[in-house]
């Protein structure tokens, strides 16, 4: 009996488990998935919790519900991965699993302790909140409900981060939320980012930067945070620039799982080096990555994990048959950006083509406007939660192509 082992049962790992369960012969293969947490989080939903649009119960379901019965599910932390010996030691489950194939889908997580002063007890979750965790998003929601206004600073510690458009969406939704609460004139919104503009890609950055301007949101580019001085309520950059805050919303440093680091499999941020087109580990040919656990320079987002899926499954299958993997993953990302007031912007891009304006043809639903605000884009985003729980996680057919297409885009 051979073992196909998946580490991490988030978006990527769950999809892989479902696909492999369809493909592999259960007489020959045992599929095992390991995760430390029994709860599946719909992470794109965290964004809506601070503003009361979603409640915590809207974004959690048991992981077991999304995994097929023939997959062996183990809830345990992972103590050590030994890729030279093809085995993984589990902590809580006190087991060692020998594998033939390993898929790493352990994701990325926030690390506020990387920035001095950021998680200081006196301020953390009091007037300094992350929204990339359910706890942070929920506590920020409680804070915002009763906030009378002041200066709200949103800061990105360093790149790369999971879902690089989420900070912008947070700003747009906050602007809308404060309007609705009738306190927009009492809130100053500042966006302090290490990037040179609103976003990573120049044309989208210009459009999104213009939207920040229109909404009266103050952009502070090239601000790389050195420390938080919570006594003075300022964040300070390496260039000694200070920005004062009453409320600090932070996107701390994102890193891969710690077990990747202490197993000697990661880069400086514990992301697993892998081929950006085949998704195979650079070092071990039976080790593969999906989603944000790898170091491939694509957006760390669920849509990207979904676009990786077909290429990954095909390549693993080819490898099992003794064939070379195909360089078919093009870095495709597709992001609905909430822009407030029931509107949204859609961007679609890959490694080589930055987000362009035009129309995104989506059979049965679209077309959706690209790089331009529309009501349909907002409803596309809200509809996506249903698709995520009911189709995407189970590896079902989605109306999106894995590779980016130029159809409908204007150059």
């Amino acid at each position: 009996m051979k073992t196909f082992l998946i580490l991490g049962a988030g978006t990527g790992g769950t999809m892989v488990a479902n696909k492999m369960a369809e493909i592999l012969d259960t007489q020959e293969w045992r599929i095992v998935i390991v995760d430390r947490d029994e709860t599946h989080y719909y992470q794109p939903g965290f964004l809506f919790i601070p503003f009361g649009t979603y409640s915590p119960s809207d974004v959690v379901k048991p992981k077991r519900n999304f995994l097929p019965p023939q997959v062996d599910v183990i809830f345990s932390d992972i103590e050590l991965i030994e890729p030279d010996k093809n085995r993984v030691k589990l902590g809580r489950a006190k087991k060692t699993i020998n594998y033939d194939y390993l898929v790493i889908s352990t994701g990325s997580h926030i690390h506020p302790e990387e920035t001095p002063g950021l998680d200081d007890e006196a301020a953390w979750m009091k007037n300094v909140f992350p929204f990339y965790t359910l706890e942070g998003a929920t506590k920020l929601g409680n804070f915002l409900k009763f906030w009378k206004g002041g200066r709200m600073v949103l800061n990105i510690s360093e790149m790369p981060i999971k879902c690089p458009v989420a900070p912008l969406e947070f700003l747009f939704l906050a602007d809308w939320f404060f309007h609705e609460r009738g306190i927009r004139d009492k809130v100053e919104i500042v966006f302090a980012t290490p990037l040179p503009g609103a976003f990573t890609k120049p044309r989208a950055s210009a459009v999104l930067g213009g939207m920040l301007d229109d909404k009266g949101i103050n952009l502070q580019p090239e601000f790389t945070i050195m420390e938080v001085d919570h006594a003075k309520q300022v964040i300070r950059s390496y260039d000694e620039t200070e920005i004062g805050y009453d409320l600090l919303v932070t996107i701390p440093t994102n890193m891969g799982a710690e077990v990747i680091g202490h197993s000697g499999m990661g880069d400086e941020l514990n992301f697993v080096p892998a081929n950006k087109h085949t998704l195979q580990s650079d070092k071990w040919e039976n080790v593969w990555i999906i989603g944000d656990a790898g170091n491939v320079p694509a957006s760390k987002a669920g849509s990207v994990a979904h676009f990786m899926l077909d290429v990954l499954i095909e390549n693993i299958h080819r490898h099992m048959e003794g064939l070379e993997p195909l360089p078919d993953f093009d870095g495709h990302a597709n992001c609905y950006i909430e822009s407030g007031f029931e509107k949204g912007v859609l961007i679609d891009f890959n490694y080589d083509v930055e987000p362009l304006p035009g129309k995104y043809p989506l059979p049965g639903f679209g077309p959706f406007s690209l790089l331009k605000e529309s009501y349909a884009n907002h409803w596309g985003k809200m509809m996506f939660r249903w698709m995520y729980w009911n189709i995407l996680l189970k590896g079902g057919e989605m109306p999106f192509e894995s590779q980016m297409s130029m159809a409908g885009k204007w150059e």
């Binding site: 790149m159 790369p160 990037l195 040179p196 790389t224 400086e268 320079p297 957006s299 760390k300």
Partner: protein, 100 residues
Amino acid sequence: MTALNTITLNEEGFMTNPAEWTEDIATVLAEKEGITLTDAHWAIINFSREKAADSGAAPTLRQITQGIGITTKELFALYPKGPAKKVAKISGLGKPEGCV
């Protein structure tokens, strides 16, 4: 500025062909960023070019600080504002891949 006539820059100001890079070009590109290159600057440029030749990508801020053994603060003193991006530009490399 004649050195710049021999190279192609993309719309973000990064050289499109690292093979066109010379030390003179680095000096001119640095001046454009308001930086006069010292030995400390060169150590970082040389490290970045070696790293890129090896991995195919310009190093990130963390790769530079950990690779050379300097603090982020020291790196910012040498290359103010976005150091990873400035180092990549002056070293004739593409945009660092952390920016996705």
